[in-house]
């Protein structure tokens, strides 16, 4: 009997972990290069986070405003990211997004159309021109379904409802992954020549979040464990508009598309408070009054955007300020009003239902609010992590040979703050690149032997909680962690609170070593939570350490004790890796150099 007999072992050229937009796009590309490609996902196919994306995907196609170009998109992305972005990635993204979107159409996506029959594009925060290709407010569903339905005919091996719990390395490169199937709890080994991580974000580290149970930072943590570097982890995006009421839906996203269609923010005094605080960087790009703002959202090319379409970090902080100053809504948010547009257009009610059907539905059914007539109550919610695995901007490979990352799990494109709509396009552009380069890598690096001792260690670790039926409840540790991160490492940060958070995370780490689960291995969410918890704790610590080290406020990070940007901090990215002693190691790495042509583009678009 071989040592591998207790595992279900399969062999592939390229193994893709994650079936969201990034994972599926990578899979389609990899298989197009003629290599055996497998995809693993924790949920059923078609349920990944991408399915929830609402507003659209950014691509400078210029269908609505022909002044748009990749250069402007590039400059917008860099400005939004506080210039910590990897310019190589920002350039690829801006240049390639239009073809990636058109390609989706050729695979069956059915976008909303302009009057002259092109793909329609809408306004979004931080984008100079209407740029988001969309389908009402269910763009993510359209994208994911298109990739899924196209992908199933590309000869992929798809492993649904399976969780990867460790990456396997040997001889300094990645050789596969180890995990279990959720249905039966059987242990599995996927051997592969190259591995692409496309596992998404970390939102479950916070109490109020738009993210699902899947977002436990698995990819970031698994890569960290085998020596990969994590970059920019301090930058966690708090989306300004999540639902605040009723309590059970707190955090669920209200798309920026509402503001793109003319929705405005008001405080309890009825004031459009966003006009009160316009950041210097955007001074020239904001409407001077309500009237100009409305003209902008209805397509007047000479008008500037309303302040509700500034970047997310800024709006989230303004909302926070209003709430703290006692000018919030009854349930601790502010008002987001789209119904007001009936003063400006006929059939406003129908228009809203047509443009924002799922928002209409969501508020009607979950909060009993008719958004065509009443204002919504909204407040900030943890939404997205800009940081992640540090990768090469051309190939998406990280410092571990054969290990690639794409989508939300990777860092670089968004710098300190992501513009809305730049994630879906990110998934397509870098999913494609990761798939291509992983396939090339796998062609010259066949699957190698796995280290059986490593498998044994992982299995022992995974099954331990069953030996402690009276151990710590994994749900309550997760819950406590979410409170620590929400309260101490949230929208407004200070040194003392974050130091306290690190302390508390240490304590939670110790408790997590003693988790206990009841029942057996078949579809046991308690057990799954216990395993995911390890990852969540790793990323929470990384976020906190990086945030502590960055003594400035930039993009998504706001430090009460350092409320402004610092020149010194504009020169580096924070990089975290596992030190030789097993402790977390932090470095400041100089930001990537930019080609002079790109600098010129930024200057021109200032």
């Amino acid at each position: 009997m071989s040592a591998l007999d207790k595992y279900i072992v399969t062999e592939h050229d390229v193994l893709i972990i994650g079936a969201g937009g990034a994972g599926l796009r990578a899979a389609v590309e990899s298989s197009a290069h003629g290599v055996r490609t497998a995809v693993i996902c924790k949920s059923l196919l078609g349920k990944a986070h991408t399915v929830m994306a609402e507003g659209g995907m950014a691509a400078a196609m210029g269908n609505v405003d022909d002044r748009d170009s990749w250069e402007v998109h590039f400059a917008d992305t860099m400005r939004g990211g506080g210039y910590l972005n990897n310019p190589v990635m920002a350039e690829h993204h801006a240049r390639e997004a239009p073809s990636r979107v058109r390609e989706l159409e050729s695979w069956g996506a059915v976008f909303d159309r302009t009057k002259d029959g092109k793909i329609l594009q809408r306004n979004f925060g931080g984008h100079r021109y209407p740029r988001l290709a969309h389908v009402g407010d269910r763009t993510g569903l359209e994208m994911l379904r298109t990739l899924q339905d196209h992908g199933i005919h590309q000869g992929l091996d798809i492993y649904m409802e399976m969780t990867v719990a460790a990456l396997l390395t040997s001889g300094g490169r990645v050789v596969g992954a180890y995990g279990y199937d959720r249905e039966r709890g059987r242990m599995r080994v996927w051997r592969a020549g190259a591995v692409v991580l496309a596992t998404g974000g970390i939102g479950k580290a916070f109490r109020i979040t738009s993210n699902s149970w899947e977002y436990t930072g698995d990819g970031q943590a698994l890569a960290y464990e085998v020596g990969a570097e994590l970059q920019d982890m301090e930058f966690v995006q708090f989306h300004p508009t999540g639902m605040v009421w009723p309590p059970s839906v707190r955090g669920i996203l209200v798309t920026e598309g509402v503001r793109g269609e003319g929705g405005v923010l008001r405080n309890s005094e009825g004031r459009r408070f966003m006009f009160d605080d316009i950041p210097e960087l955007y001074r020239n790009q904001v409407a001077k009054d309500e009237d100009e703002g409305w003209r902008y959202v209805t397509g007047d090319k000479h008008a500037q955007r309303p302040p509700e379409l500034l970047t997310r970090d800024h709006i989230a902080r303004c909302i926070n300020r209003e709430i703290k100053a006692g000018r919030g809504s009854p349930h601790g948010g502010v008002f987001l009003d789209i119904g007001w547009i009936k003063e400006r257009m006929p059939n406003a009610s129908e228009h809203i239902k047509k443009k924002l059907p799922s928002m209409y539905h969501q508020f009607k059914e979950l909060a009993g609010v008719d958004i065509t007539a009443e204002a919504m109550e909204v407040g900030p919610t943890t939404h997205y992590v800009m940081g992640g695995i540090r990768v090469d901007g051309n190939t998406q490979m990280c410092n571990i040979p054969g290990l690639f990352a794409a989508g939300e799990v990777a860092a670089g494109l968004h710098g300190s703050n992501r513009l809305g709509g730049n994630s879906l396009s990110d998934l397509l552009v870098f999913g494609q690149r990761a798939g291509e380069h992983a396939a090339k890598f796998a062609k010259s690096n066949p699957a190698a032997d796995v280290d059986v001792a490593q498998l044994e260690r992982e299995t022992a670790r995974a099954l331990e909680p069953f030996d402690r039926p009276n151990g710590e409840n994994p749900y309550s540790i997760q819950h406590d962690l979410q409170n620590v991160m929400q309260d101490l490492v949230g929208i407004v940060r200070t040194q003392s609170e974050m130091e306290q958070a690190l302390d508390r995370i240490g304590g939670l780490n110790a408790r997590s070593e003693k988790t206990g689960v009841v029942g057996h291995r078949e579809f046991n969410p308690g057990w799954h939570t216990a395993i995911d918890l390890r990852n969540l704790l790793t990323v929470a610590e990384a976020v906190t350490r990086a945030a502590l080290d960055r003594k400035e406020s930039r993009g998504a990070q706001f430090r009460d004790d350092f409320p402004t940007k610092s020149d010194e901090c504009s020169t580096f990215n924070t990089v975290i890796s596992k030190g030789g002693d097993g402790a977390m190691k932090l470095e400041r790495r100089p930001i990537s150099k930019m080609r002079p042509e790109l600098t010129a583009i930024i200057e021109k678009n200032k």
């Binding site: 059923l44 269910r138 699902s212 009421w245 839906v249 349930h331 204002a375 078949e522 308690g526």
Partner: protein
Amino acid sequence: MASHTANSTESDTRTVVFRIWRGDVNGGQFVVYPVEVTQGMVVLDCVHKIQAEQAQDLACRWNCKAGKCGSCSAEINGKPSLMCMTRMDMMPVGEEIMVEPMQAFPIIRDLVTDVSWNFEVKKKIKPFKPRKPDNADGSWTVYQADVERAQEFRKCIECFLCQDVCHVLRDHHKHDEFIGPRSMVFTAALEMNPLDTEDRLADLKNRDGIGYCNITKCCTKVCPEHIAITDNAIIPLKERVVDEFYDPITRLFRMFRPKS
């Protein structure tokens, strides 16, 4: 400014008794769980609360909690529903709430069923085949009015509640002969996509069992996306099948003017 009607700020708590089916292929039974329910909670919140406090290993699927992913399908008081969109304050007060897995699919555990059949069926349906691009950049010129019907069908979140309620599958187990309402909606989205050039009518008639549907409209009633499954997808497909195979005039006409 539009006025906001706050329902009520204080949260009134009450205890509701849940009867949840627990078991696997070897059988199971309903287990009773009392749950403290506060305002605004949905059934999925209650299931999560039970998981966190009383039954760690209670199996269920979910992702978005907002009716967007179609993961949390179950039968609540006998009605196929999304647990995340079923509000507790819509449920009859004072009565127990029964939650059980979908009946049209094999059980895996507790509220989780094996829905893989749906994925297999989809794979057999001929994929999208667009006409040649209209423009040099590889794009097409298509107007909003022409895509609206396909867009209605593409709202489908693959919750499979319609499959669950359809008597052809649920009671008569014709899974080998009938692809079910979800797959009809999928086929309709392809057939009514203005760019598509594939022909799926013969498959619909022979392999997919469109004739089994006797237009009871039960599927339409449970669809959380409010897709008019029967009226807009199945009936038009049935008409196309009839035109293609039983109407000699249309058939002749088609011979001389192939599908564009």
